[in-house]
Amino acid sequence: MVAINSNYNIPDFSLSPRIDQVGVEERAKRFTARSIKTTSKVNGLKLVLNMIDLTTLEGKDTEGKVKQLCYKAQHLHDAYEGLPTVAAICVYPSMVKIAKQALGNSGVKIAAVATAFPSGQAPRDVKIRDTKFAVDNGADEIDMVISRGKFLEGDYNFVFDEIAAIKEACGNARLKVILETGELVTYDKVRRASDIAMYAGADFIKTSTGKIQPAATMPVTLVMLEAIRDFYYKTGKMIAMKPAGGISKAKAALHYLVMVQETLGSAWMSNHWFRFGASSLANDVLMQLVKEKTGVYQSGNYFSID
């Protein structure tokens, strides 16, 4: 297997930096203590909306549900003028065609979860076909899962080659690599998996599928952001980040923005470089925006169902 990024010196991943658990958790906690008010808050919230990958990944998804989601992606809350759209919608490969029709040229991207999401327990050729199917149907981004079993066994070459193979199958689509941090258990392993994914050709690294608890947490995201920073210093290449699952409140989303800003800098503060994988976050952000505008606390009854 030829690695896409074979122009890099591939390091020995067993030597990836160890993570100071207490230090990382305390540092992550600090980001929640920033005070963001009025104009900065409104701008921050609009940026959050623009970074959301509006997601539906359920066995019971129907064409109707996906169409509804695509409508919502473009019309978050029409009563509030000047709102951005979300960054992308995130669906299963079988729904990509429907989404493509529904989104048209709105600029909202289509992300598809491929490679036997969420478990990733399938042979490689199936995963590659899954990926190609999504890309051929018009997916702009592919969210793949790594083989956690192989990773935990220590078979890093397998994981590396698999990511590289999927990257090749993606063509022009950007590749998000889901580490499923809830199954990796320790920060050391999260850091190691991040390094493998980035060297193997990931455009994004993503925390979770949303199917396993815990999903995205601030410390885990911080570990991954620091891996991105180190990779950038070494290679000069920017990698994007996507925490997913469990971020449902506007306040928490602002804390994540603070963390990105203070860890990677303002170059990463756009939806090309940072995303939230979420389904219920958008409504909470909308409620806060309307509250800032009207001065009145809002009720979920007056916002569209997601």
Binding site: V296, Y297, Q298, S299, G300, N301, Y302
Partner: protein, 294 residues
């Protein structure tokens, strides 16, 4: 050796927890002789917001309980209050009541809870109706709880007024956020301790202390509150509440001429105030040659 008295700092009651106000502000109410009573939380609009979230989360479970079970729980509150009578009498004495008044107020409060406990599974029959209609339908109307109710409690009593406004609201399956009497707040938080140990799920009753002038606006304009109750004859505040409540067409009730210590202050119409009437048309066949109807 003389002992220095400990001036208690009362907390507020949100979602079954006793946090301090997020604002970090406190005030000290005084009794008639100028003696400080305690340190009370000066709640902010954010405390109110948190309380509404807790009340909304608790609403589904509380309204879905069997009416009989809600009655059991209200009766349990009465029992627990009975057991802590002495503490309430002591607090009422501190706040300027005579011994006789204090005992009377606690007794009526307990009786009032028992009264509404009894109504929990009975007001539905009283306020429901089977309606005569011209088509072949079984048509009936039943009361259902309106949702989250914000309440600014009566200012002149510390315990009785508070109990009298909370009991009918929760008896009817609603959840509530209550602002205690500003000048006589002691019993409110002690009553929250009673509620907390009476099988009442967290979030069904939330108690704040603070200033009416600061919080009335938010009690009235929050979009996730379905009804609001105000108990003072203060024209400006009443106007403000009516005005702000129009935003989401809240139900507004002014209990400003109720004497809480007499029998008139307890009746099932207080429960009806925070109920919505749902009418159902159920198609039926004509049975046994009878005409359309029920």
């Amino acid at each position: 050796m003389t002992r220095i008295a400990v001036l208690k700092t009362y907390k507020i009651y949100i979602g079954g927890q006793f946090p301090r106000t997020e604002s970090g502000r406190y005030y000290t109410p005084f009794n008639k002789t100028g003696k400080p009573l305690a340190n009370m939380c000066l709640s902010s609009r954010k405390d109110f917001r948190e309380a509404v979230v807790a009340a909304r989360n608790a609403f589904g479970g509380w309204s879905a309980r069997a009416a009989f079970n809600r009655g059991q729980i209200l009766y349990r509150i009465a029992e627990m209050l009975e057991g802590r009578k002495a503490q309430f009498i002591d607090e009422l004495l501190q706040q300027g009541a005579t011994k006789e008044q204090a005992e009377n107020e606690v007794n009526i409060s307990i009786d009032r809870l028992v009264y509404y406990a009894g109504w929990c599974d009975k007001y539905q029959q009283l306020f429901s109706a089977v309606n005569p209609v011209a088509s072949s339908h079984f048509n009936f109307s039943v009361p259902e709880p309106t949702g989250v109710v914000s309440i600014i409690a009566p200012q002149q009593t510390s315990l009785l007024g508070l109990v009298s406004v909370i009991a009918p609201v929760i008896a009817g399956g609603n959840t509530c956020v209550v602002l205690a009497s500003e000048s006589k707040p002691l019993c409110a938080i002690t009553f929250a301790e009673v509620i907390n140990s009476s099988d009442v799920p967290g979030g069904v009753v939330n108690v704040l202390t603070g200033k009416v002038a600061e919080l009335a606006k938010y009690f009235a304009d929050h979009m996730d509150v379905n009804a609001t109750i105000f108990c003072e004859n203060d024209i400006d505040t009443k106007k403000l509440i009516q005005d702000k409540s129009a935003l989401n067409v809240k139900r507004v009730f002014f209990y400003d001429d109720v004497k809480w210590n007499v029998a008139d202050a307890e009746n099932p119409y207080f429960i009806l105030d925070t109920q919505e009437i749902k009418t159902t048309w159920h198609p039926i066949e004509n049975i046994g040659g009878a005409k359309a109807g029920y």
